[in-house]
């Protein structure tokens, strides 16, 4: 984990308040594992509002065309409030503070080879962010990712080309039916799990709490391991302030609060008390 003043390389407007922010951050780019995030000070001056840094998942790690070495960070930013608004208003060349990589990412290891056949990746809107690096690392372990990518409308399904270029199966869905299946993203997932009643599937989800809760329920019904990437308001991202917790249950069913910034953001869905949303 490093704290660096980094420069903005580019900000691409993806529509529907989504932006692809590229940072020049070679030192940090080398350390990234899928599911990790960075904390950005959303403004050049560290003394100004918003005071607290904001967490953003690393979508991709661009590499140098010449050396092939990681040189930057691609972040998918959805503008929702003051922090994200200020962030996307910055210009290429401007600097900001970037702390990371932070957090516990997805559990992808060589043990999965031959034991896990299929990985269901479920994304709700900007929840797509951690799934690109995940899909790549799954492919590297010979696991076949199937992406369920849902949103309110077609405009919310950003960066589809990245996944399509990976050549993986993708099932799109939109609530208004403007693209893919009409309805929520968990419908095609349920359908898929019904038609693929097998144990060598892993489930990975990122999106709104309600969506992840439904994905957890489906996974549990089908006895599948499921990892989710959680959201919480953060103070420090260092495990120090205890501001970012999610209510969990330990082995004895005793409640305990785990820190999304250090114990997460990716957690096994069985740990979580799904009745208590952290936001």
């Amino acid at each position: 984990m490093l704290d660096r003043k980094v420069k903005i390389k580019s900000i691409r407007d993806l529509g529907s308040r989504n932006y692809l922010l590229t940072l020049n951050a070679p030192e940090q780019a080398r350390l990234i594992r899928p599911g990790q995030f960075v904390m950005l000070k959303c403004i050049e001056n560290v003394r100004e509002d918003p005071l607290l840094r904001r967490p953003f998942t690393i979508f991709d790690v661009p590499k140098s065309a010449r050396s092939g070495k990681p040189v930057g960070l691609d972040l998918l930013i959805k503008e929702v409030g003051m922090g994200t608004r200020k962030l996307i208003q910055l210009r290429p060349g401007q600097a900001l503070f970037c702390l990371g990589p932070q957090g516990h990412g997805f559990q992808v290891s060589s043990e999965m080879r031959n034991r896990v056949e299929i990985a269901c990746l479920i994304a709700g809107g900007v929840g797509i962010a951690p799934l690109y690096l995940l899909a790549q690392s799954l492919l590297a372990q010979n696991v076949k990712p199937v992406l369920f990518y849902g949103g309110a409308a077609i405009a919310d399904l950003v960066l589809r080309d990245y996944f399509e270029r990976l050549g993986i199966d993708i099932i799109y869905s939109t609530e208004d039916g403007s693209f893919g299946e009409r309805g929520v993203v968990t419908q095609p997932l349920a359908q898929f799990l019904k038609t693929h009643p097998r144990r060598d599937i892993r489930v990975y989800a990122c999106g709104p709490w309600g969506m992840m809760k439904a994905v957890h329920a489906l996974s549990a019904q089908n006895n599948l391991q499921c990892e989710v990437s959680l959201e919480a308001r953060m103070g420090c991202s260092l495990g120090a302030c205890l501001g970012c917790v999610v209510r969990c249950k330990d082995h004895e069913g005793e409640e305990q609060y785990l820190r999304v910034c250090q114990d997460g953001p990716v957690m096994n869905s069985r740990l979580i008390d799904w009745e208590t949303a952290p936001l």
Binding site: D3, L51, L99, C236, A240, C241, L242, R247
Partner: protein
């Protein structure tokens, strides 16, 4: 401001301060609850650069804390309602303290309790643990439903808990951390001094609230939370000044400090040292920067000893 000789300049200004017989290499400390158990920041700054670390409030046995959401950002500040989640004194001493002993920063342990006995138990236990420089009695946390905070509603309660904990603290100096949510902080300052407190930390957070107007729901599940950050600095500075007028024991300034200039305001108002809280979250090495900045300030202004600054507020002509 004495004129320093060349020799003195060469060795640099003295930044060390004494609080109840304990020497801090400089008056910059980190505030409880905002710096974890210290080690979380070891990769991001030099823990040898600051005078001390006040660790997260500890109870004898672990506390789970409040349900989330626990934090919310406000104008130049933040609300928190952590609710004393901590690993417990035993685990702190076995798992964290050994690592902390490698650094020059003095370790002060903030202690919390729902009832008087909780404070006494943890105070007694920590008195036997080498590597701790002082205890900070937190009677002022607004984020628990019973105990703690209530000791800071009436000066007589503050007196009692201070006097009893002082007895339980056989070797370690006892600092008492006061709440700003009172009509007159001087009464509490004097009560704690009379009860034997060795120093006062002023202030803890102001009680605040925020509402999500879309959901018509409190932003914090605990309903209210403690307000910290630059927003509260003027209130903290005023209370530090009032406390300094009211007592002879050292006062440690806390509240909204985020720069060398902020730290200087508190020292000039009379604080013997300062603690940096919320600023650690958005600038993890801020305490090191402020410690360096203070040294620079003394150099530039030919101040040999930081103690010359303390309480140097000038009246208007």
């Amino acid at each position: 401001m004495k004129n320093s000789t060349n020799k003195e300049i060469a060795k640099g200004p003295n930044l060390a301060v004494d609080i109840a017989g304990v020497r801090f290499k400089n008056p910059i400390l980190t505030a409880s609850g905002t710096f974890g158990y210290g080690l979380e920041f070891a990769n991001l700054m030099d823990l040898n650069s600051i005078g001390g670390i006040v660790v997260k409030g500890l109870s004898m046995t672990p506390i789970k804390g409040n349900p989330p959401p626990r934090v919310y950002e406000t104008a130049s500040g933040m609300l928190n309602a952590i609710g004393w989640q901590n690993i417990g004194a035993t685990e702190f001493v076995t798992k964290k303290l050994p690592g902390l002993r490698n650094y020059e920063a003095k370790i002060v342990v903030n202690i919390v309790g729902f009832e008087l006995n909780d404070y006494l138990e943890v105070a007694r236990f920590l008195n036997d643990c080498p590597g701790i420089a002082a205890l900070e009695l937190n009677i002022s946390c607004p984020n628990v439903k019973k105990g703690g905070y209530h000791f800071n509603k009436d000066p007589r309660d503050a007196f009692t808990v201070t006097a009893e904990t002082k007895k339980a603290s056989r070797h370690l100096p006892l600092w008492v951390k006061l709440s700003p949510n009172v009509t007159d902080i001087r009464e509490f300052a004097r009560a704690c001094q009379d009860a034997g407190a060795d120093a006062l930390s002023v202030i803890n957070t102001l009680v605040g609230m925020a509402i999500d107007v879309k959901k018509r729901r409190p932003r914090l599940r605990f309903l209210t939370g403690g307000l910290s950050g630059p927003a509260i600095k003027p209130v903290a500075l005023r209370m530090v000044w009032e406390a300094c007028q009211a007592v002879r024991i050292p006062v440690i300034g806390v509240g909204g400090i985020a720069s060398t200039e902020d730290a200087l305001e508190f020292l000039i108002a009379g604080a013997r040292a300062v603690q940096i809280g919320t600023a650690n979250f958005y600038q993890p090495d801020v305490s090191q920067r402020v410690a360096l900045g203070l040294q620079e300030y003394c150099r530039l202004n030919h101040i040999d000893d930081v103690n010359e600054i303390i309480g140097s507020l000038q009246p208007y002509e």
